[in-house]
Homo-oligomer: 288 residues x 2
């Protein structure tokens, strides 16, 4: 047992899978769930993700409170929670952006900011909601923590131990470094997939196009099946890094455009061959 | 038996899978293979894709000759083949672009152009080569034929019957319409995946980025594992449609960029929600 009690604020895929994994590992005794939608809490309880629904006052008495909700809601939730926190309670999150979460936590938690451990599990699915949760979601996956200079070291250690109990490999990064990296390898691809599908869908004869789309299109656009609310929040929360990545990507596309327009076969082949080689190297080092 | 003999010019994934499927269906008796690389022909024979290697003169005596090679090689191959074609022989291809293939065939085949049936199986893999071939590659997949006004009707009927024997569903389109559709749903996504991976790979600190890339990145970039030569040829062969699609895609990305820069949450959510809904509708109508 690492902690007695865990409270989930948000009982969907991310929070629910964390709770299932910790229960299975015997790392937590009781899991509480907080949320605005009673039906969703009932579903989470029926699925065994939480033991019972709780209010803010009860959640504040838990040893660890995990926020697993769209990052845009972080500050409002922490303002509700702050006055209820028992001494020693640790708050952590699972948001896909970190600099804005750190700023929100600093503003909302005041003197209790030292008890906040910013985190980001690099796992998920285009599925969402309590029914998508599974105990093995984090097994072998990376979790990034971005503790600040004034974050309590033993709070970091506890959160790390919980993620490791869930099967994850924990790393630490600076919050800004985290946001720059994920703007490139996650946020941009999501926006790019949404852009491609929406651009086609807006055409008068879109059905003709979709009719002939095949497996390459399916995989390229899989992440366009993700939650619009979640990605709206992420794009805005990580604004400056996302803008820089869109610009870099558009420049890369324009370079390919120029090579196509100029019939520059050598340049196209060099670009494609470098990309294929880089992806092969990456696949060989990853377990994804 | 639909035809006695089939000659493959190109014995990789596409040609080899066609031959395997037809053999399995009892639709062809003998399969010949033509190619510049003896080792590759030996491999194709060892894998059962072809019965024996052949030269151009022998290939020209086959009932049907399938070109399954990079589209940039079409005209040169057809010029070799043209003088060898027996009366009634049918030539077809499996290229991903059609207007340029039609033009190449018209230039190379002269009076025998009526025997050429332009085709494009919508199936494949980022794997390539003889060893990737499999008999069920085309099962349930679409094949597009783009016969011209002067294409012999019974040649079209024979090629259609062969693809149907391989398990595919055959449709016809105009060559220009084909190229416009596939520029959008296939060629652009490939270029976009190559662009994303290469842009990251060119950065001085690319290892840091790749280290945190996960399953969304993996699927978005799967097609960046495709053959550089093949996609170089396709991009140039379908130049004007590809340029138009790059422009439309860059415009869509710039619209998202503008919404992010303006903190326009409503517009982002609307775009992402439209994309998700369109993709869901598409997935529900497709077997991909």
């Amino acid at each position: 047992m690492i902690v007695e009690s865990l409270a989930l604020v948000g009982t969907g895929l991310i929070g629910g899978s964390f709770a299932l994994a910790l229960k299975q590992a015997g790392a937590v005794r009781e899991v509480l769930g907080v949320g605005r939608t009673p039906a969703r809490l009932d579903e989470a309880r029926a699925l065994g993700l939480i033991d019972r629904a709780a209010d803010w006052a009860e959640a504040g008495q838990a040893d660890v409170i995990l926020l697993a909700l769209p990052v845009g809601e972080t500050e409002a939730v922490l303002r509700q929670l702050a006055p209820q926190l028992k001494p020693g309670a640790i708050v952590t999150d699972a948001g896909s952006t970190k600099a804005n979460v750190v700023a929100a936590a600093r503003a909302a938690l005041g003197t209790r900011f030292a008890d906040f451990v910013p985190g980001h599990p690099i796992a998920g699915s285009e599925q969402s909601g309590p029914s998508a949760a599974r105990a093995d979601l984090y097994r072998g996956k990376r979790v990034v923590l971005t503790p600040q200079a004034d974050t309590r070291a033993d709070a970091v250690a506890t959160v790390r131990a919980l993620w490791e109990a869930a099967g994850a490999q924990v790393e630490t990064l600076g919050a800004e470094q985290h946001d720059r990296i994920f703007a490139a390898v996650s946020h941009l691809p999501h926006l790019a997939a949404f852009a491609l599908v929406d651009e086609l869908a807006q055409r008068a004869d879109s059905e003709t196009f979709f009719r002939f789309a095949a497996s390459g299109f399916r995989d390229f656009t899989r992440i366009a099946g993700s939650s619009p609310e979640m990605w709206r929040d992420i794009a805005l929360a990580n604004q400056s890094a996302v803008l820089a990545e869109i610009d870099a990507y558009v420049n890369a596309l324009q370079a390919i455009r120029a090579a196509v327009a100029a019939n520059d076969a050598a340049s196209l082949q060099a670009t494609f061959a470098r990309a294929r080689a880089a992806r092969e190297r990456w696949m060989n080092t990853q377990d994804v």
